[in-house]
């Protein structure tokens, strides 16, 4: 059994070596930082310098009466940490940049089931990469929803 794991880890190391700072090592880090919540999906974020300030958008469906966590692992060569914004249509609901600080993890309490957009960008002006993980923290009953 030990040999099998060593072989797997060896193969994994090959992948990490070949993929560099923006590779699967980031995913491993993001998963380890997710904590004990239930993984739902991940976002492989790659922002070329030319468009890093504009960013890229991801669609995600979120359910009402649910608390989610989004945690981000930044590439080690990023000039700055990536900023995530969550939109319902055109309405900005929140961002991980708050009071002059970029948080690598935040919770989102969703109260409307529907399709949302995650906008991700980086102000560093250079190539940037990150891996973000969406996980399920808690589901509320109708009468338990935080007011």
């Amino acid at each position: 059994m030990g040999r099998i794991y060593l072989t797997l880890i060896g193969l994994f190391s090959l992948i990490v070596t070949s993929s560099g700072q923006c590779g699967e090592e980031l995913m491993k880090q993001a998963l380890s930082e997710m904590g004990s919540y239930q993984y739902i999906k991940d976002f492989d974020i790659k922002l070329p310098a030319a468009s890093s300030k504009t960013g890229t958008k991801y669609s995600v469906v979120l359910n009402s009466r649910t608390k989610y966590q989004v945690n981000v692992a930044n590439g080690s060569t990023n000039a700055e940490n990536v900023i995530l914004q969550i939109f319902d249509g055109d309405k900005l609901l929140g961002t991980n940049f708050y009071n002059g600080k970029t948080y690598n993890v935040f919770k989102f309490i969703c109260s409307k089931t529907g399709a949302y957009k995650l906008n991700v960008f980086c102000n560093g002006g250079t190539d940037a990469c990150a891996r973000a993980v969406l996980s399920l923290v808690e589901q509320y009953s109708d009468n338990e929803m935080p007011k």
Partner: protein, 302 residues
């Protein structure tokens, strides 16, 4: 220890991805081309990119399974699609739909930590995935090993869901969004079907609200499926989902929007949407939705 197991599970994901890059494991199942071949005649209404974006907007069956567990309902194996049926699915359309259905079943089984049942479903998923040439993303041996040890169940859940996400990402990159669409549709229908079966037994208010809130998701699903309705198989599925949409048209889902708030509590950033959703759904509408979901599910698994 949890992290170590999580790392090992993740290592297995990466190895699966590595094998996908090198050709991976492929079987010589027939019928692989029945979805693509039937779609080459006319241009699609929506581009692959639009479909890829919209596919992301279909609910994860994992969340529905959690909601069912939260309702206090017990595990009921009779609501699952029998793993033995896997052998009957001999077209890529049926394989894709039922790969999705089994993935939802797997999510339900994993949520209830029923590791005695899980291996037969992992095998069914692996067989159907191989039949669609995406089996390289499912490391059956690792998944089975995790399933046999109750201390590994968190890793099993993680690996199961992330493997499906990798498979979906790969299909979309390979411009096989039609296959991805069928998988996602199968997963959504199975998740809703299980929910409906539990509602029949429990009449749980929160599950009924969840069911009502699927109105928007049905609309999105129908738009995606419609893109492929030139294929006779997809057309039949679209017809059944259109009937479901008609029932949902009378369900009223309204939202009162407040101002979203961001606050930091004990160093943790919390964003609250501060909206209130009202679902106006009658018992008769619930019954009609349940009956139509059964029709769609029967079409998928038969």
């Amino acid at each position: 220890m949890t992290l170590t197991i999580k790392n090992l599970a993740y290592t297995a994901i990466c190895v699966g991805m590595l094998s996908s890059c090198t050709g991976g494991t492929q079987t010589n199942n027939g019928g692989l081309d029945d979805i693509p071949d039937s779609l080459t005649g006319a241009p699609l209404q929506l581009s692959e990119n639009v479909v890829n974006d919209m596919i992301q907007n279909i609910s994860s069956p994992v969340e529905m399974a959690n909601q069912i567990k939260n309702s206090g309902a017990g595990f009921d194996q009779s609501v699952l699609n029998s793993a033995d049926r896997m052998k009957d699915y001999d077209t890529s359309f049926k394989r894709a739909l039922n790969l999705g259905a089994y993935s939802a079943d797997l999510g339900y089984i994993n949520t209830f930590n029923k590791n005695t049942v899980v291996v037969s479903y992992l095998l069914a998923v692996k067989e159907l995935a191989d039949g669609l040439n995406v089996g390289q993303f499912l490391d059956f041996n690792t998944l089975s090993r995790l399933a046999k040890n109750s201390t590994n169940l968190d890793s099993l859940k993680l690996l199961s869901v992330s493997s499906f996400n990798e498979m979906d990402r790969y299909l979309r990159e390979q411009k096989r969004a039609n296959v991805s669409t069928a998988i996602v549709a199968g997963a959504w229908v199975e998740g809703i079907y299980i929910t409906c079966r539990v509602i029949e037994q429990t009449n749980d208010k929160d599950l009924i609200l969840r069911l009502g809130e699927q109105k928007d998701i049905v609309n999105i699903l129908l738009i995606i499926l419609n893109n492929y309705r030139q294929d006779a198989n997809f057309a039949k599925l679209v017809g059944t989902v259109e009937d479901l949409k008609k029932i949902y048209d009378d369900v009223k889902v309204t939202t009162e929007f407040g101002e979203p708030e961001t606050k930091e509590i004990d160093g943790m950033l919390i964003i609250e949407q501060n909206a209130i959703t009202h679902v106006d759904i009658t018992p008769e509408q619930v019954s009609r939705i349940i009956e139509q979901v059964k029709v769609i599910r029967q079409f998928i698994v038969e």
